[in-house]
Symmetry: C2
Amino acid sequence: MLSKKTQYAFHALIHLAENADKGPILISEIAQEKNISIKFLENILLELKNAGILGSKKGKGGGYYLLKTPKEIPLAKIIRLLDGAIALLPCVSLNYYERCENCRDEAVCGLNDVMSKVRDATLKILENKTLKDILTRNVSIL
Amino acid sequence: MLSKKTQYAFHALIHLAENADKGPILISEIAQEKNISIKFLENILLELKNAGILGSKKGKGGGYYLLKTPKEIPLAKIIRLLDGAIALLPCVSLNYYERCENCRDEAVCGLNDVMSKVRDATLKILENKTLKDILTRNVSIL
DNA sequence: CATAAACTCTATAAAAAGGATAGACTTTTT
DNA sequence: AAAAAGTCTATCCTTTTTATAGAGTTTATG
């Protein structure tokens, strides 16, 4: 299961993309629209900003906005950024690999084998689908 | 990512299956063999017992043993028992569904749509693969 | 039938994740 | 120059997950 953080990030990104034509969007607007704690959302948007996905403008008329087009933001990237590994086991993760502490030899571990298949099937979807693919509204400017 | 609980459960079940010909297996043996905290493992085996997957025998010569053949234990069942939902989002879970608090209408939510596909791809593997498929050693008695 | 071996149960503690709060800092408008 | 409207940073509280401790119960067996 994805963490709340990642779930909120997706909803926030969707809102930002669908309102990209309106200039910087207030955190408070996203929080209200998507029913998310405003302060918690602050931290999440900040992480997305530090990762180069969002930009922000301070002062009156400020807010957050996408730095890339939705098509350039794969869903897998968001999950890895906020949740870490996508795989179900650490010993099967491509980006956050950790040696298995519970088995003798990963090379002949049947669990490793099955979970690799699950990872591949999941990544095939999440690395190819982007923010654009999960938008409801089509925004002409994008 | 699967919880430690579920990860440990898989390794314990593998050990039980691969040594099914030896009668009841001690918790301590599994814990040592698989490098798992013995007391934590106790709780896990108890849950598996209460779910009807394992049986136990008390007293000298006691221990845990499988109540079903490995082929009858789908991997998805173990995950659902110990971790709950397999899906990445509550609003997409078949067995642990919860309404989405962050979007207006799940029926037209693009996130819901993509995550349903991930769920289907994952379940296609995890519901068809069983404990038997992740064993290293072939035990004739099974 | 006493004893040791082994599982069972309840309570508690430590660590991580989720969520909430406060206040400092920055930019813009007037 | 100052107030308004935002972001940024740090800390704290609660819940869940992970792990530990110890008393209690059952069973084989000599």
